[in-house]
Amino acid sequence: MNTGQTCRRVCSGLAWMAGLEGGDTGHGWTGSGGNSLLLPSGSSQAASFGKCFLDRFPPDSFVRMCQDLRVLNAVRDYHIGIPLTYSQYKQLTIQVLLDRLVLRRLYPLAIQICEYLRLPEVQGVSRILAHWACYKVQQKDVSDEDVARAINQKLGDTPGVSYSDIAARAYGCGRTELAIKLLEYEPRSGEQVPLLLKMKRSKLALSKAIESGDTDLVFTVLLHLKNELNRGDFFMTLRNQPMALSLYRQFCKYQELETLKDLYNQDDNHQELGSFHIRASYAAEERIEGRVAALQTAADAFYKAKNEFAAKATEDQMRLLRLQRRLEDELGGRFLDLSLHDTVTTLILGGHNKRAEQLARDFRIPDKRLWWLKLTALADLEDWEELEKFSKSKKSPIGYLPFVEICMKQHNKYEAKKYTSRVGPEQKVKALLLVGDVAQAADVAIEHRNEAELSLVLSHCTGATDGATADKIQRARAQAQKKMEGLEEEPLETLPTEQW
């Protein structure tokens, strides 16, 4: 132990501490008592001397004893006046002793002791500083501004000091403004927000919560605000906080649908209002009239939102709903909530071809899709006669490969073959292979001189039956190869081209 060093540390510590007492002079501290407080007593000097003559003496207990004695000396000083014996001190523990010093507002000494004993900051210095700050906020004669600044200066970012605790104390003494100022120094928003709410500074709490990014905190403040403010003010507050607004919308979506509508109305968000009414048309209303009415509201909203497409689509849907209702009445069966496509399909399956045609015209189903639709429906019915008639009604906008495919899907090779001749040249090979006519497929492929088609056919040649065909292809290939070498013709196609 180097006494000189300790003394210097103590002195500088005391000089620093002088500031802690704020208005106090503090000179009395450093002056008379200061230097002598922690000086080692004569006996410890003697022990220190004696120690040198002992072999392998573990220094720990000696050091600890010196420390204890110094602490005891310090508190026994007449300025402090706590005449503890060593065993009393040990019984009491250092923590309790520190508490007593704090109660007597002997903050500087308490801090010195903590630093001297190297207590962990959270248990030691920070705790005492916090106590000091709590005392400080009770000094009514000092302005909020000054107290806050003084506290921040002293505490800075000391770990383990909770500004919100100090602020809570300030609030407890009725110094709300000071509490708010102190909370500004609190880095943890989770601590700021509840106190701000308690102090009825909800709007400030809201912006703090938003700053933190913690949505749970934002929600908590929002629900608080909702109870505290009238509806108009609440909505206005939300309007200035887009993040809070979108969170509150989420909340309303599950909890208060009507409020959601009001929120959209307030913002003139017609697009969302439209969607809102669409949902309503499915959720709430059973009767068709009610549903149509809800959709009408939706359509109006979409017009206001300048979303022409959605408005038209909604009107179409209203028309369709009414029509489906009529179909149910007249034909029986279920039509409501089928898509337009499925409605037409159902009509064809039920043999109501005329009505199906009419519907397709009314709603302007594109030709291609209508052909697919009819094709699929007629094949499902296995109405081969009608299918053939349909195929001849005019030139198919989707080609004839789909006819072959759909017949094969229903395992009707006989019908499928009827269409192969009408399949366009680009898909002919595929069609022929589908119906199992490998030989003819090979001929077409050879005629096309298309490498991809040739290998496709070759991959379909199985075993003995197609042996001759396979040979034929190989020969054709070899020939083409020769030609290629001679001529360097344009490259052969490798990708299947468009279907029609």
Binding site: D216, I278, A310, A313
Partner: protein
């Protein structure tokens, strides 16, 4: 494990969504050791009877779940002997939910209210996920940043464990927010100086909406295709059982298994680690090579003459048998996938996708898409293609867009108008503004389309989509070399700000890199990541002169289908 907290027998009531992720960190047997006697899923009305002292609710902090819990607790109270109720929030306690429980009059019934801060769940050595299904929708549709907050918290936990990450890069609105939250949270922890030597050199935060294209394309890696076709859930996949039936003679196929075969997929399985990130076309050759090696190893037994040799052979048996089982499984899976990939429709779809991505005919109605609609192919498939076309054309011409939308509504039903609105809001489907198509610029600058792809021995990340190099991964690659300054123009076209933040380290912790030592970048995908992107990043990590290794984190492991599905809305 948290269940250790409470003494005596217990029953756990699970929020169903949590069971999957929790399966990865605690097996049922482990829970049993802690006196967990019953497990239920959270449902309305009353709990099933269980003779236990404690009832623990494991839930996400959601209001609707609180209502169910209150119902459970109230009916349980009426039933008789008092139980101890506890509630564990995953990943975070919520004041809002506790308030709700209080309003419902049951808050006092809970002895413990704790949180289990499971933000990032480890899926593999280099992969972490929050498994938060709705993250993309919440962030980009509803401007709800809850999952971003959790992401930031998760990153703080990672930093507490693996050291402060000195550099943060980011691109996108959400990335900016997460970075801001991290910086703020760091301030909250001042004083507790982190003295851990940093493992990561960089953090790269990427918004999913910076790259909307990649997940829409069909993944062509082995793992990606398994996910596309069968869907990988929490690293498990359920497969049709027929191919896995044990081949026994004389059985006559009497008892074919009917239950789906469930397999766990991760890098702990040697063979899977080798093939998961390969292009599917390169998997077959690996499998047949492995088959030869294994049968050769089994043949070794004929050479074993002395007792010592036999003993050595026998000691290797378990490992060999495991390898053989693993090979059999993956051969079966590969066969299943091959059936799909060789189908004509798969080929046609892929052709169209590749046309779009290489910029062919993106500005007019595509006849294949038309045909898919007319034949009522699954709506998700159609939406994926239409969105892909829109993204590859910086939005569709109004006429084309309206045509597609009308076709979809007429065919699949008007109710999907809500889904279409969602897709438009997320920017996946939109009209082209100002008649300008930026995609070609992006494609050329970032070299997104590579014509010469080597699927067997790849030299570029584009192998994962057989030609298309995922935009997100390209951004990561360019960041590490030569830096983003070279692509400022493209970065300005892509949505959201790009930024760089430094977190100063005390001098003692600053890294002195050995020559040849790789940097480690943690890359966080906000809004989800696909297996193909992960594969591409792993490919970059393994490049000999790459210089950067990647650890991947995300809000959700996803694919185009699950992504679109999360954005769909069904009003009835």
């Amino acid at each position: 494990m948290a269940s250790r907290l409470f003494y005596g027998s217990k029953a756990i009531v699970w929020d169903e969504y949590l069971t999957g992720p929790f399966g990865l960190i605690a097996q049922y047997s482990l829970l049993k050791e802690h006196e967990v006697e019953k497990m239920f899923t959270l449902k309305g009305s009353r709990l099933p009877a269980a003779d236990v002292k404690n009832i623990i609710f494991f839930v996400r902090p959601r209001l609707e779940l609180m209502d169910i819990i209150a119902e459970n607790v109230l009916s349980e109270d009426r039933r008789g002997p008092a139980r101890d109720f506890h509630i564990l929030f995953v990943p975070r306690r919520s004041l809002l939910c506790e308030q709700r429980l209080k309003d419902l009059g049951v808050l006092g019934s809970f002895i413990h209210r704790e949180e289990y801060s499971l933000d990032l769940i480890p899926f593999d050595g280099d992969l972490l996920s929050m498994e938060s299904e709705g993250a993309f929708k919440e962030c980009y549709l509803e401007s709800d940043q809850t999952s971003l907050y959790h992401a930031a918290k998760g990153l703080m936990t990672l930093q507490a464990l693996y050291g402060t990450i000195p550099q943060i890069f980011g691109k996108g609105e959400c990335a900016r927010q997460v970075a801001n939250m991290m910086i703020r949270m760091k301030r909250e922890f001042t004083g507790s100086q982190n003295s851990i030597f940093p493992v990561f050199d960089n953090l790269l935060l990427l918004d999913r909406n910076v790259d909307l294209l990649t997940p829409l394309a069909t993944q062509l890696t082995y793992e990606g295709l398994i996910d596309e076709i069968y869907g990988i859930q929490n690293s498990y996949v359920k497969l049709p059982p027929e191919k896995f039936a044990p081949k026994k003679q004389g059985d006559g196929g009497k008892d074919l298994p009917t239950e789906a075969k469930k397999l766990q997929l991760n890098s702990a399985e040697e063979l899977y680690a080798e093939i998961r990130d390969k292009n599917f076309n390169a998997v077959g050759s690996v499998l047949s090579k492995k088959a030869k090696v294994i049968s050769a190893a089994f043949e070794e037994r004929h050479n074993a003459k002395t007792v010592g040799e036999i003993k050595q052979f026998v000691s290797q048996l378990p490992h060999m048998q495991a390898a053989r089982g693993s090979l059999a499984n993956h051969t079966s899976i590969a066969e299943l996938i091959k059936d799909v990939t060789t189908s004509e429709d798969f080929f046609d779809k892929l052709t169209v996708e590749q046309e779009f991505m290489s910029g062919i005919d993106t500005d007019k109605v595509n006849s294949y898409v038309e045909e898919c609609i007319a034949q009522k192919h699954p709506l998700i498939k159609v939406l994926r293609l239409v969105c892909l076309q829109s993204v590859c054309n910086s939005g569709l011409k109004q006429k084309v867009l309206d045509y597609y939308k009308r076709e979809i509504l007429q065919t699949y039903g008007y109710e999907h108008i809500l889904t279409l609105h969602n897709l438009e809001k997320a920017g996946l489907l939109k009209p082209q503004l100002g008649g300008r198509n930026n995609y070609p610029t992006i494609r050329k600058t970032l070299r997104l389309w590579m014509d010469d792809v080597n699927e067997q021995n790849p030299t570029d990340i584009s192998y994962v989509y057989s030609g298309y190099a995922p935009l997100s991964v390209r951004l990561a690659q360019l960041l590490s070399r030569p830096g983003w300054r070279s692509i400022e123009e493209v970065l300005r076209i892509l949505p959201g700000p790009h930024f760089e933040e430094r977190q100063p380290l005390p001098t003692g912790l600053q890294k002195k890199r050995q020559p040849g030592e790789n940097r480690i970048t943690l890359i966080f995908f906000l809004g989800g990541v696909t297996f193909a992107e992960i594969a591409a990043l792993r490919f970059l990590s393994q490049l000999e002169d790459g210089g950067t290794e990647y650890v991947i984190a995300t809000t959700k492991l996803m694919n185009g289908a699950s992504w679109i599905e999360s954005l769909m809305e069904k009003p009835f």
